[in-house]
């Protein structure tokens, strides 16, 4: 027993090292890619507050660009308003139409922390459970894809960026609705890769890739990117292609969280289907 004690005392440095390393690795594998409200609630007070202060200052330097983006979005929205539509036949158009029901609601939020230089990137936004943000909600900027909420505290949320190894977006080609998936292979934050392109399907540079609307995260038709190069894989079942993201991930100022109003209904339907 005494020898054992002496042994530990002699090699305490190695044991302490192993102890701290194991704690770090447990934290790493337990809390990453997981939602953990307890941990996040505790830490978001510090890091969220500090990031907010810093963004408040640094935001002044990008106001010009943010204003430009906002005015562009405003213009796009105005173009879709009833006032902007020229009525050919007054008897058909109606503004209060019960045929249309809102499917999505959007919560606007400010990005207070953002990285693009890691293999796995996250954004922090300044809206949380108090504003109705929940895990698994999609996040877009204008009409462009950004990521998915993974972690929510009262006032802040962590968003798993598209620039993450766990991100796999169900997408389709705008020109013929061909289903594919989009991932980020790491490296340059402006380029991604399109996978699972069927062999018979020809891809041309300049083709637009948008979200498929098959997942509950993003609405149909959110812009992802434009094809840059088509890569034919001789010995595989599918071809791939590289694409340029339309989202400027390094310059994100304001984003919108997508709230799917019918999500509960969809999930219930899914659950009931499993029971059969």
């Amino acid at each position: 027993m005494r020898n054992l004690f002496l042994f530990f005392r002699k090699h305490y440095f190695i044991f302490l090292f192993l102890f701290l390393e194991v704690i770090s690795l447990i934290l790493f594998f337990r809390y990453n890619n997981y939602q953990n409200a307890v941990m996040f609630d505790w830490t978001s007070g510090i890091s969220g507050g500090m990031n907010s202060i810093y963004r408040n200052i640094s935001e002044y330097f990008s106001l010009k660009r943010i204003n430009f983006i906002l005015s562009e979005e405003n213009a796009a929205i105005h173009a879709r308003m009833p006032e902007a539509i020229y009525l050919v036949d007054k008897t058909i158009f109606s503004r209060h139409d019960s045929l249309f029901q809102a499917e999505y609601r959007f919560i606007n939020a400010r990005v207070i922390s953002n990285t693009t230089n890691r293999r796995n990137n996250y954004l922090m936004i300044n809206k949380g459970t108090l504003n109705g943000v929940e895990p698994h909600m999609g996040v877009i900027s204008g009409n462009k894809i950004v990521g998915q909420v993974v972690n929510v505290s009262r006032h802040f949320s962590w968003v798993l960026s598209l620039l993450h190894k766990e991100s796999k977006i169900s997408a389709r080609f705008l020109k013929n609705n061909q289903m594919v998936s989009v991932e980020w292979p790491g490296g340059d934050y402006r380029t991604g890769v399109v996978r699972e392109i069927p062999k018979h399907f020809r891809v041309a540079p300049g083709d637009t890739v948008i979200t498929s609307g098959n997942s509950e995260v993003f609405p149909n038709g959110i812009l992802i990117g434009v094809i840059e190069q088509w890569n034919v894989q001789e010995d595989e079942n599918f071809n791939t292609a590289t694409l340029t993201f339309l989202t400027d991930f390094n310059g994100l100022g304001y984003v919108e969280v997508v709230v799917d109003i019918f999500r509960e209904e969809k999930e219930q339907l899914k659950a009931s289907f499993k029971e059969l």
Binding site: Y12, F13, L16, F17, L20, E21, I23, S24, L25, I26, L27, F28, F29, Y31, N32, M39, T43, I46, S47, M50, N51, Y54, S113, N114, T115, T116, N117, R118, R119, N120, Y122, M124, N151, W158, K165, P185, G186, G187, D188, Y189, R190, N250
Partner: protein, 173 residues
Amino acid sequence: MTNLVVRNTIRFLFLVLFQVLILNDINLGGYTNPYLYLYFILLLPFATPRWMMLFLAFFLGISIDLFTNTYGLNAAATVLMAFCRPYVIGAISREPEEELGIQPSLRIQGFKWFFFYSFILILVHHIALFYLDIFRFTEFFQTLLRVITSTVFTLVLVFLSELIFHSRTKGKR
């Protein structure tokens, strides 16, 4: 003694803030990002108890992790680096540790010593950090490139800081 503690505490706080507020936003060519916060571990006095060094490394890493939502990632890499520090010092110094001075310094130990000392430790940290972060071997060479370019970047910043803050503090150190 008190002076050393105060200086190191200030250095800790300053480097954490500098890292999370400024350096984390820097990204050269999509591959390279510097981790100057390691400068704190590099400059710890030689007389720092080893257990304390490990704990300081752990808290330093966790502080960085709080801001990047990667709980444990930086902590694991920094603790590994702190663990290697005494062995690296032992391997590259001719005289015993007690005769090396108060803390590692470019001016006292000379360019060659300080270069190998910081290069090896930064490399250890970056290898652990980047490979733990991707945690798959399909991107092995791409990650290796990131490790190498980031190591060079961090090393340059460490030498710059050393030249700016520690070149003319004779007598005080």
